[in-house]
């Protein structure tokens, strides 16, 4: 069976900076890959390389075995690869329903008429619990709804591969759970999902595999519990001193408990997040 998504030695240089350097991953249908790493590690650039916003300087992108290296974003979308953006990108002049309908109009194979696309949009909104706000403008939504809208826009493409770039950012713990449940549900339906997150609770609860990036390179890849307990990951995130302190604390406590704390990771100002 060919993997839903495969990258081989994917790399891009911006001048002298190797923003992404030789990343190879494979995501099967119905699997969730988490991508973590400190800010500037190249996580979003990695997504941009796959979804066509940036052309790679080296390496390959295969979707269902098909070589789509360096293809334009709309070609990638037509291959049923959908994504959200780290910074929400709603179409402000359009209603929530039409925001979602756009994806169904152009992204879904064969495309669709405006009326048909609105029908698809209504189904997606219903599923994500956004039916009540379908007529509103995207700027009137709460943070949680705005994050959901981005996911809805991606799902309207009926994707086989879904990228979620920090879809938990700014959510309160109670708001996070439905979002996580949705990811699990989509996984069960067979979507290949790539999740970029700073919220470790999310990573731990939905990912099958985690890729840790640092300065554009793969630091390590493995199951979430293993990866999050790894010394190198803690160091990458928190720096040498904190890692040593934590090691000492853990030794005192008998070596149990989670390694990378849930509050790990830099966070944008003013955001709420799950307490550890």
């Amino acid at each position: 069976m060919t993997a839903a998504l495969e990258t081989r030695d994917l790399s891009v240089r911006f001048g002298g900076l190797k923003a992404v350097d030789g990343i190879s991953v494979t995501v099967e249908d119905g699997r969730v890959l988490g991508v973590i790493g400190p800010n500037g590690a190249g996580k979003s650039t990695f997504i941009n390389l796959i979804t066509g916003q940036i052309r790679p300087t080296r390496g390959k992108v295969l979707v269902g075995g098909r070589d789509l290296t360096g293809a334009k974003p709309w070609k990638i979308a037509a291959a049923r690869v959908a994504r959200t953006f780290q910074i929400n990108k709603p179409f402000r002049g359009l209603s929530v329903r039409d925001n979602v309908a756009i994806g169904a109009m152009f992204g879904a194979p064969g495309g669709g008429s405006v009326a048909k696309a609105r029908g698809v949009a209504d189904e997606v909104l219903e599923r994500l619990g956004l039916s009540g706000v379908a007529e509103l403008g995207p700027t009137e939504l709460s943070v949680a709804h705005a994050q959901r809208l981005e996911v809805a826009k991606a799902l309207a493409l009926r994707p086989r591969v879904l990228f979620l770039d920090e879809a938990m950012a700014g959510l309160r713990p109670a708001e996070m759970e439905p979002q996580l449940e949705l990811i699990r549900e989509l996984r069960r339906e067979g979507l290949a999902i790539v999740v970029v997150e700073h919220v470790m609770r999310a990573i731990r609860s939905v990912c099958d595999t985690v890729l840790v990036m640092q300065e554009g390179r793969e630091l390590l890849t493995g199951p979430p519990d293993e990866v999050l307990a790894d010394e190198r990951v803690i160091t990458a995130y928190l720096g040498q001193r904190y890692a040593e302190r934590q090691r000492a604390e853990r030794a005192e406590a008998g070596g149990s408990g989670p390694a990378v704390a849930d509050q790990v990771g830099p966070r944008p100002e003013g955001e709420t997040r799950a307490p550890g």
Binding site: F85, F91, L94, I102, L136
Partner: protein
């Protein structure tokens, strides 16, 4: 608003039932007008359009010839504003060189009729095709730029094209201009006169209005609006942004070229400085923006309103008319940054005149 208030069996919807004393159910908290829906103001707009259309068709019987010429100019500028609206308003690419299609259309007509002895109609077809083709040609490189950069690039293209026209006098007559054979034995198409040109420009305006009306409701229109809002997100949603932008520019160029063609025939003698004048581009932009760019009837409102205003000022304030016109435009842009049409629909929706809102919002 309509979604919550129009439920016959449920007079009190969820959010209002808790505080029945707080205002009537129909005047809930302000919500943004649902985009893409027909509002009362839109209906009123279309009724107005129909009424005006009837008056226009009867115009030759109602008005004196000089007013017919004014009316022709009004229709022409409304058409130009509407054509600009497709690329500048819907797509969000502020072309400052749209006059290039106007000049190209005019010169195509003049050269084909004067030098090659074509009649008007086939020459018009060629002009429209050339307008679209030129839009594609200059769109492929310039539509990679955004915002100011696109504006400057298109401005440069228009100025450059004028220089080319000036420097091939054998074809275009250079700075001395070119004269379309309109009367006498060399005339290939009989000169339509004031009434004829009024109808030509009216017909073109109707075509432009219907084209934009259709675009606004089509997948194409959604693609353009998505590109306008966020090009990366539009591309990620599967929209071939390059193709859509070029197509929008081509439609805009074709309509503008048609307007230039009719204008050249009407003027008989044309000169590069007039046909490629930056003033015409500026007027297109101002009319579309003040009327409401990205709306269907905005450019019509702006074009008709400003052209009549400009004409009135010219006749009544001979010395100061451009000064007054400029001042009015500045005030209009400050007070109605979203354009007259959106202002009107806001007024209807909020049931108050939000005239000072922009001043307060930006502490101007």
């Amino acid at each position: 608003m309509a979604a919550t208030s129009a439920r016959p069996g449920m007079p009190e919807s969820e959010s209002e039932s808790a505080h029945p004393e707080l205002g009537a159910p129909t005047t809930g908290p302000p919500k943004a007008a649902p985009a893409g829906r027909t509002t009362a103001s839109q209906l009123a707009g279309w009724a107005l359009v129909l009424g005006l259309l009837v008056i226009c068709l009867l115009a030759p019987k109602l008005f004196i010839p000089s007013f017919l010429r004014t009316l022709s100019a009004v229709f022409m500028f409304a058409t130009l504003a509407q054509a600009w609206n497709i690329i500048g308003g819907f797509t969000g690419y502020p072309s400052f060189g749209n006059v290039v299609f106007f000049g190209l259309g005019g010169y195509t007509i003049a050269v084909l009729m004067a030098r090659s002895h074509w009649s008007f109609w086939p020459a018009l077809v060629v002009a429209v095709v050339l307008g679209a083709a030129y839009a594609m040609l200059i769109g492929i490189p310039t539509l990679r730029l955004k915002g100011h950069y696109f504006a400057i690039a298109t401005l440069g293209v228009a100025e450059g094209t004028r220089e080319i026209v000036l420097n091939v006098p054998k074809v275009t007559g250079g700075g001395a201009g070119i004269t379309v054979p309109a009367v006498g034995p060399s005339a290939t198409t009989s000169y339509p006169g004031n009434t004829g040109f009024l109808y030509y420009f009216l017909a073109l305006l109707v075509v432009a209005m219907l084209a934009v009306y259709a675009i606004a409701r089509s997948r194409f229109g959604f693609a353009l609006r998505a590109i306008n809002q966020d090009e990366d997100a539009a591309a990620a949603a599967g929209i071939n942004t390059t193709r859509m932008k070029i197509a929008a520019f081509m439609v805009s160029g074709a309509i503008t070229a048609a307007a230039g063609s009719i204008y050249a025939f009407q003027q008989v003698s044309i000169y590069p400085d007039r046909l490629f004048s930056v003033d015409i581009t500026v007027l297109m932009v101002i009319m579309a923006v003040i009327g409401g760019s990205g709306t269907v009837i905005g450019p019509l409102v702006g074009g008709v309103g400003l052209q009549f205003l400009s004409e009135y000022l010219r006749q009544n304030f001979t010395d100061y008319h451009t000064f007054i016109f400029g001042a009015i435009i500045i005030v209009a842009v400050v007070l109605l940054p979203e354009g007259a049409v959106r202002f009107a629909s806001e007024t209807v929706r909020q049931r108050r005149l939000p005239i000072m809102d922009n001043l307060r919002r930006y502490r101007l």
